[in-house]
Point group: C2
Chain length 319, copies 2
């Protein structure tokens, strides 16, 4: 069987160069890299990379925990992570959890077992204590603001963003404002809830639990929202919708039902996806791809860092 010395001889390079090429090191001259790869092909050499990982204690695999890979919010985050992974010769191991805790724990377990080098958790159900327990096994990076904790994170200030969007709707004359959200639990959702409560309190507006609609994730959930609103005795006149997908679904459903936007119902979406631009939906731009890139860089860094990204309201025709 061909070994690394044979390859070096065949390619006319040093053993170190062969090793670099096999391990995807950057900074190998292109002609040398080609010679090595030709030798690998000719000799049909193959190593068992698990042996290499065992000796190095590194896999160049990064875990990514996300509830749904088919939702545009997470797909955009993943896109940013994948772009940066590619530049750094990392592969991604995907944990699609549907917010089932045991699947999150599996990812943490893989970190513990050194099957992945680090872990990005885009959204979670498990307690922070569970994550904290696993920090000794490798970097874990989160997509939420956890000030004072000993791990890296990239996030936007959901409290401030939500508060400002509510103020904007209020300034346009709305006092019955509702919001649509994926789920009520989760750090980010709790921050939005605080912003909503504080806003109502400061504006001396009553709290109506009907106005908080959860389980809104996809385009088709827009239909459910409109159904719920039509059943209310005093329906909201404006909605903050934490996904442009859902906002677009609401918009489409309103067109069909002859509900005039923004006159009967004003909408502000979130993320600034292309669909929001094309449908002329007012939205809050969240730099998801950039956030994904930063999450990756934090996950390969030895340093703990916190990065807040900025979001901005994009005024269009629906609010």
């Amino acid at each position: 069987m061909t070994n690394i010395k044979d390859l070096a001889r065949m390619a006319g390079v040093s053993v170190t160069t062969v090793s670099r090429v096999l391990n995807n090191h950057p900074y190998v001259r292109e002609d040398k890299k080609k010679a090595v790869l030709d030798a690998v092909r000719t000799s049909n050499y193959h190593k068992n990379i698990n042996a290499v990982h065992l000796s190095k204690g590194k896999t160049f695999l990064m875990g990514v925990v996300l509830p749904f890979s088919d939702h545009p919010y997470f797909a955009q985050l993943l896109k940013g992570i994948a772009k940066q992974a590619l530049e750094n010769n990392y592969k991604l191991v995907l944990f699609q959890t549907s917010y089932i805790e045991s699947r999150e724990l599996e990812a943490l377990e893989m970190l513990k077992l050194k099957q992945i080098d680090s872990l990005i958790i885009c959204s979670r159900t498990c307690d922070f204590a569970m994550i904290e327990e696993h920090l000794t096994f490798g970097p874990i990076v989160l997509c939420e603001d956890l000030h004072g904790k000993n791990l890296s994170a990239t996030y936007v200030d959901h409290y401030r963003i939500f508060y400002e969007a509510l103020k904007y709707l209020h300034s346009k004359g709305h006092s019955r404002i509702g919001y649509c959200i994926a789920r009520k639990s989760g750090t980010n959702s709790q921050k939005r809830m605080s912003a909503y409560r504080d806003f109502l309190h400061h504006s001396q507006l009553p709290y109506n639990p009907e106005y908080l609609m959860d389980d809104c994730l996809y385009f088709q959930d827009g239909e459910k929202v409109i159904r719920q609103i039509k059943e209310m005795i005093t329906p909201p006149t404006a909605l903050l919708v934490t996904s442009d997908q859902v906002a677009a679904g609401i918009f489409t459903c309103c067109q069909r039902e002859q509900i005039s936007i923004p006159d009967d119902l004003a909408i502000i979406g979130f993320d600034n996806e292309p669909i929001a631009k094309m449908m002329n939906i007012t939205t809050v731009e969240i730099p998801l791809v950039e956030m994904g890139k930063n999450l990756f860089l934090q996950a390969i860094s030895e340093q703990v860092s916190n990065k807040e990204m900025s979001a901005k309201l994009i005024e269009r025709g629906t609010a």
Copy 2:
């Protein structure tokens, strides 16, 4: 350092049971499993799983090659693959290639290096010969019809589906029919092209190269399609659009530009995504999640199999 015998003693179970729990075997009694996991936690035991994989020659990692993870077509396939992976205790390693060949080769290389057990290629740029070269290293499964080749595949009959959709539009009085596609190359696109040419030939209709619009993937590409059509001297009166996303984008753009659908322009989408249902877009249903599930099962099987899934035209308001 704690070893597996210590764990067995602590948990009051056999070494075999500990081994089963650590390796995620099914059929371990819940109480025994809990005892082992408690012992693992108390002792802070952790194995280096790369050593286990080295001894077993199996990683329980499956590679998935797809050009764009943020496109609904691939996101749905991935959803099916992920569902089935979960049931079989596999993790997915994602190769987001943007149709760059070297990234596909990296995935094949990982199979060769035994870093993944098998590989699902949802769509590709590389030659089939390159795939064939790697078949000895583990199962490779494709999402295209490659009759007579020695590997498994799950697919729909793109030739027949396209031909029938064209006939449908023709029966509604259209003789200037165009189509929008992600890319011109690729096995599936070539089959659609054959169907298109054969249809024109049999119906004695002229071929107009302008009517073939490629690089249409996302919702926002609908705008580009309408721009192109408006510049044509004899524009098509009907379009087959190989993604509901793009069809929805065309639909939205037409509403804004006061182009009446289906009178000025008929549209048939593909996939039957929720957006097509909500916008009442006529479409061809492709069972993507089911296809994904089957791709996974083929990738863990020793047997080579070919599975054709059926698609069906769903008549709605746009054609």
